[in-house]
């Protein structure tokens, strides 16, 4: 499994470079979902890391290639809401990242989702928020309009 993981996943190290000048006038400019890797050997500042984007996910694998069903579920849920621009950290790249985020959020499992730097929960919680409509509301608070609302509007206008 480990061989499979390491051979399939290549960390796209865009981390520190990509963040330079990212926030201009408080706006975040995106091109696509960024894959974030903290510099190896450096002490991680999770409080900073979780604020890198409005939505930040610590997951196994990448949004393009999730390596675990639960991480995949989070990616799919976000996709359904049209959220494809978010910070994603691949914990399989870095054992310190994997254990560090668990300690930081006092949460024992991966994936972990953060909105505006605040811990939201894991896969179960995101799924339930999706099912009971809370997710649309929470995204709205972040200034993100859920794609599901667009669909609803389309449905009404037809």
């Amino acid at each position: 499994m480990n061989t499979l993981v390491s051979s399939t996943i290549r960390c796209l190290r865009v981390g520190s470079v990509c963040w330079t000048g990212l926030r201009i006038d408080g706006h975040v400019s995106y091109s696509s979902t960024r894959l974030l890797c903290a510099a190896a050997g450096k002490k991680k500042d999770f409080a900073e890391m979780v604020k890198k984007d409005k939505v930040v996910v610590f997951m196994k694998g990448t949004p393009a290639q999730p390596m675990c069903g639960f991480s995949n579920a989070v990616v799919q849920i976000l996709r359904m809401h049209g959220v494809d621009k978010y910070g994603a950290y691949n914990v399989l790249d870095d054992q310190d990242l994997r254990e560090g985020v668990k300690a930081f959020s006092n949460w024992p499992t991966i994936p972990q989702v953060f909105f505006n730097g605040e811990f939201v929960g894991g896969c179960d919680i995101l799924l339930q928020m999706h099912q009971n409509g809370d997710l649309v509301e929470e995204l709205n608070k972040l200034g993100i309009r859920s794609a599901l609302l667009e669909e609803e509007d389309d449905g009404k206008s037809k």
Binding site: F70, N106, W107, P108, T109, F119, V120, G121, G122, C123, D124, I125, Q128, M129
Partner: protein
Amino acid sequence: MEITIDHIRNKLTTEIGAVHVEVEDTSPNRCAASFKVLVVSPQFEGKPLLHRHRMVNSCLAKELEVIHAFEQKTLTPEQWEKLKAQ
């Protein structure tokens, strides 16, 4: 530490007053590597989802160190009755 379905059920019952617990071993060979639990407890009343999940997590903190994957659903007795009625 051997983790069994009964062990998880007993712990949730005694420590967070669960009135109904369903535990499923979701690992491919039923080798106690992953579990899915449904916990119904009056102690969840008035508590947000994150808080409820944290209660379960801390109750099973030791077990979760060795469990590979863990899914949970946390309901109040009222929510559980509603779900059953559906």
